[in-house]
C-alpha cells in the first residue's frame, strides 16, 4: 500500500535542516501502524509527505502503486480527497458548519449533490453514534464527539489510508480509549491506518510501532497479538 524508498527532506528556512535522511518504509494493506519519536525526529514531516501535504527532495513514494512526485496542487488536492483521510489533534472542524456539513465536506469537493452527500454523512455519523448530534455546531460538541465527527469526515470519501496526527492529544484518557477503539474497529474493516503519537498507550494498540530518531528509522517493533 505504502512504499517509501530512500526519502530525503531538507528544509531551507535560514539554516538548512535535514529532517528526513533516507526513509525506507513499507506498510501493507490493512495494517495499523504508529509512528513515534521525540519532537524534531521528523515524524510530522513524514506524515505530511505521506499525506501529500508536503513534497520530498529525493527518493520515491508509492501510494497504492502510484508514484507521488512533482504533482500539481490540483492533482495533489484530488489525490488527498480520494485516497487519504486526515484526523488531526485539534479536530479542525469548520466551526460555522454543523456536524453533517463538516462530515460531508470531502464529498462537496467531489461535486456530489447536497442531498446525497448529507445522507451519506448522516450514515457515517450514525456509525459513530452521533446521529442525534448531526445538526449541532462543533462548539456544541464535546472533545470526544468532535473527534468522532472528524473520524467520520476522514472516512466518508472511502480513502485508501487514514493518517492520524496525535488523534488523542487533546482528549482525556477515557475518551482517548474510546477513540482508539473506534480507530481499531475501522482498521478491522480493512482500512490502512497510520497514527503519529507520543503516547505509549496509543502506540501499544497498533500492530507495528515505527520509532524515528533524527530523521532515520531507529526501529520497527511488531506487536504480536495486539488486542484491546
Amino acid at each position: 500500500m505504502i512504499d517509501l524508498k530512500g526519502v530525503n527532506k531538507t528544509y531551507y528556512g535560514g539554516a538548512a535542516l535535514h529532517v528526513l535522511k533516507g526513509i525506507d518504509l513499507h506498510i501493507a494493506q490493512g495494517e495499523m501502524v504508529s509512528i513515534m519519536g521525540a519532537s524534531g525526529s521528523g515524524k510530522s514531516t513524514l506524515l505530511n509527505i505521506l499525506g501529500i501535504l508536503d513534497t520530498y527532495d529525493t527518493g520515491e513514494y508509492y501510494l497504492n502503486n502510484l508514484l507521488i512526485r512533482n504533482l500539481s496542487e490540483t492533482k495533489a488536492a484530488e489525490l488527498r480527497n480520494k485516497m487519504i483521510g486526515f484526523i488531526f489533534q485539534s479536530f479542525n472542524l469548520i466551526n460555522f458548519k454543523n456536524a453533517v456539513e463538516n462530515v460531508a465536506l470531502p464529498l462537496y469537493y467531489q461535486g456530489i449533490s447536497r442531498r446525497k452527500r448529507n445522507n451519506i454523512a448522516l450514515e457515517y455519523l450514525d456509525r459513530m453514534g452521533l446521529k442525534d448530534w448531526a445538526h449541532h455546531l462543533p462548539s456544541e460538541l464535546s472533545g470526544g464527539q468532535k473527534q468522532r465527527v472528524a473520524i467520520a469526515r476522514a472516512l466518508i470519501a472511502k480513502p485508501q489510508i487514514i493518517l492520524a496526527d496525535e488523534p488523542t492529544g487533546a482528549l482525556d484518557s477515557k475518551t482517548s480509549e474510546e477513540v482508539i477503539q473506534i480507530l481499531r474497529e475501522v482498521n478491522k474493516e480493512g482500512m490502512t491506518m497510520i497514527i503519529v503519537t507520543h503516547e505509549h498507550s496509543v502506540a501499544n494498540a497498533t500492530d507495528k510501532i515505527i520509532r524515528l530518531k533524527d530523521g532515520v528509522i531507529e526501529s520497527i517493533e511488531v506487536q504480536e497479538g495486539c488486542l484491546i
Binding site: 510530522s44 505530511n48 499525506g51 501535504l53 508536503d54 496542487e73 490540483t74 488536492a77 484530488e78 488527498r80 480527497n81 480520494k82 486526515f86 488531526f88 489533534q89 485539534s90 479542525n92 469548520i94 460555522f96 465536506l105 470531502p106 462537496y108 469537493y109 467531489q110 447536497r114 469526515r153 470519501a157 496526527d165
Partner: protein
C-alpha cells in the same frame, strides 16, 4: 450557473462578521452613491442650463458698431459710426448663407417708463424686426408677434414680456388691444412673450417691451440708425465664418479699414455653446475622477478587509485544502465573496443614489424657482457602466486576498505548533 452550496458558503462568511462586512460594504456603497449623485447633479446642471437657452438659435450671431481703431480713407482713428438700414439690405443681398436678419434698437429706460392705468414699471424697450422671432423664440403666451406689416407701416404696437404683464395687469385681464404708455407714447399691445429665460441680450424678453424697429427709429429721431444686428446662418453653414463675412462687408460699406479689429463688436452663439459643451465635459471628467477615486477607496477597503479575513481563516482554508479543495475552488471562493460584497453594496448605493435624485427632483427642484438644475438623473448607460465597473472592481479587490489564500499551505495551517 448558480450554485446554492457555494452561495451559502459565501453568505455564511459575509454574515459571520456583520459589522465588519457592513463597514466594508459601506465604502463601496458610498463610492457609488457619490458617483451617482454627482453624475445626476452634473446632468441636471447641464439640462437646467440647456433648458434655459432652449429656443435660442445656436447658429446666431450679433454685432454692433464701436469707435474705429484705425485711421482710414481720411477718417481719423476713434471715429464714431453707426450701422444703418442700407447695411441690412447689402448684407442680405451679398451673403447667400445668411438665413434671417433682424436689427435691434434700444429705447430709453427711465424710472416707471411703462405705464398702464394706475400701474407702472421700469422695463427695457427694444425695437425689433419680425424676423427676430426666428432668432429668439418669443414663446408667446397670448396674441401674436410683430409682423412685416407692423414694420412697413411703422405701427405703434408692442409685444410685452410676461413679467411686464404680471406687473401691470395684476388682475390678469386680457391685455390684447389695450393701450400701453411707453416712454410717453401709447402703443397697442398685440402679444405677451415669455422669451428664452436663460439668455439675455441687454434685457430678458420677459422683462421688456418690444416694438417694430421702424417705429423705434422714428421715435428716436436718429434716422435709420441701428444699434445691433442679429442674424442666423442657414443650416449646414458655420455661423462663425458668416460672422466674419458680415463684418468684412460692414467695414467695406462704412469706410472702415479691413484690418480694424475694434470698429465692430460681435459674438456668436456657436462659440457660446461650444464653451458650454467644454464646461460640461470638464464637469463630467471631474465627477468621474472624484467619483472613481471614492470608489477606489472603497475597493481598497474591501481588498484590505478580505486580506484580514483570509489571514483569520488560514486554518479553515488549510483544512479545506487537506480535505481536497483545489486551488481553483479556493480562488473562486475568495473572489466570489469579494464580488458578492461589492455587488450588493454597490447596487444598493446605485439604487439609493437614484432614489435620492428622484426625491430631490420631485420634492424640491420641480417646485423651486431659479434653480439651475433640471431633471437630475443618471442615464441608463451610466448605470450599466457603473455596474460593470463595480463587478470588475469586485473581482479586482478579491485578487490579492485570493493570491494570499493560495499561498497557504495545508501543513502550516493545520499544525498546532
Amino acid at each position: 450557473m448558480f450554485d446554492l452550496d457555494r452561495f451559502q458558503e459565501i453568505w455564511v462568511t459575509i454574515t459571520r462578521n456583520k459589522v465588519r462586512s457592513f463597514l466594508t460594504g459601506f465604502g463601496v456603497f458610498w463610492g457609488i452613491f457619490m458617483l451617482v449623485i454627482m453624475m445626476g447633479a452634473g446632468t441636471g446642471l447641464q439640462r437646467g442650463m440647456m433648458k434655459g437657452i432652449k429656443g435660442f438659435s445656436t447658429n446666431s450671431c450679433f454685432m454692433g458698431a464701436a469707435p474705429t481703431g484705425e485711421a482710414y480713407k481720411g477718417f481719423k482713428k476713434g471715429r464714431n459710426w453707426s450701422m444703418r438700414n442700407r447695411d441690412l439690405e447689402i448684407l442680405q443681398r451679398s451673403i447667400p448663407e445668411l438665413d434671417v436678419l433682424s436689427p435691434v434698437l434700444w429705447g430709453g429706460r427711465f424710472p416707471n417708463n411703462v405705464v398702464y392705468g394706475d400701474n407702472s414699471g421700469t422695463y427695457s424697450v427694444r425695437g425689433l424686426h419680425a424676423n427676430y422671432q426666428f432668432i429668439e423664440n418669443p414663446f408667446l403666451t397670448q396674441g401674436r408677434f410683430i409682423n412685416e406689416i407692423d414694420i412697413v407701416q411703422r405701427r405703434k404696437v408692442c409685444v410685452i414680456g410676461t413679467k411686464v404683464y404680471e406687473d401691470l395687469f395684476p388682475t390678469r385681464g386680457n391685455p390684447i388691444g389695450r393701450q400701453l404708455r411707453v416712454n410717453g407714447i401709447y402703443f397697442q399691445i398685440i402679444g405677451v412673450a415669455e422669451g428664452v429665460q436663460g439668455m439675455q441680450l441687454g434685457a430678458r424678453t420677459s422683462e421688456s417691451v418690444s416694438i417694430p424697429f421702424t417705429t423705434m427709429q422714428q421715435i428716436n429721431n436718429q434716422g435709420d440708425v441701428i444699434h445691433m444686428i442679429a442674424a442666423t446662418a442657414k443650416p449646414g453653414h458655420s455661423v462663425k465664418a458668416m460672422e466674419e463675412r458680415m463684418k468684412e462687408i460692414l467695414k467695406a460699406n462704412n469706410d472702415i479699414s479691413p484690418t480694424d479689429t475694434q470698429a465692430i463688436w460681435s459674438f456668436n452663439m456657436e462659440e457660446q455653446f461650444n464653451m458650454f459643451s467644454y464646461l460640461f465635459l470638464g464637469i463630467i471628467i471631474l465627477i468621474w475622477i472624484v467619483g472613481s477615486g471614492t470608489l477606489i477607496a472603497g475597493i481598497v477597503g474591501v481588498s484590505n478587509i478580505m486580506l484580514v479575513t483570509v489571514k483569520e481563516r488560514t486554518k479553515e482554508i488549510g483544512v479545506r485544502r487537506a480535505l481536497g479543495a483545489k486551488p481553483k475552488t479556493i480562488i473562486t471562493q475568495i473572489m466570489s465573496e469579494s464580488l458578492v460584497l461589492t455587488s450588493i453594496a454597490g447596487l444598493l448605493g446605485l439604487s439609493f443614489g437614484v432614489l435620492c435624485l428622484h426625491l430631490a427632483d420631485v420634492y424640491w427642484l420641480q417646485k423651486a424657482e431659479n434653480v439651475f438644475l433640471s431633471d437630475p438623473m443618471v442615464s441608463f448607460g451610466t448605470a450599466i457602466g457603473s455596474t460593470i465597473i463595480l463587478l470588475g472592481s469586485g473581482l479586482l479587490a478579491g485578487l490579492l486576498p485570493a493570491a494570499r489564500a493560495l499561498k497557504i499551505k495545508a501543513i502550516d495551517a493545520i499544525r498546532e505548533e
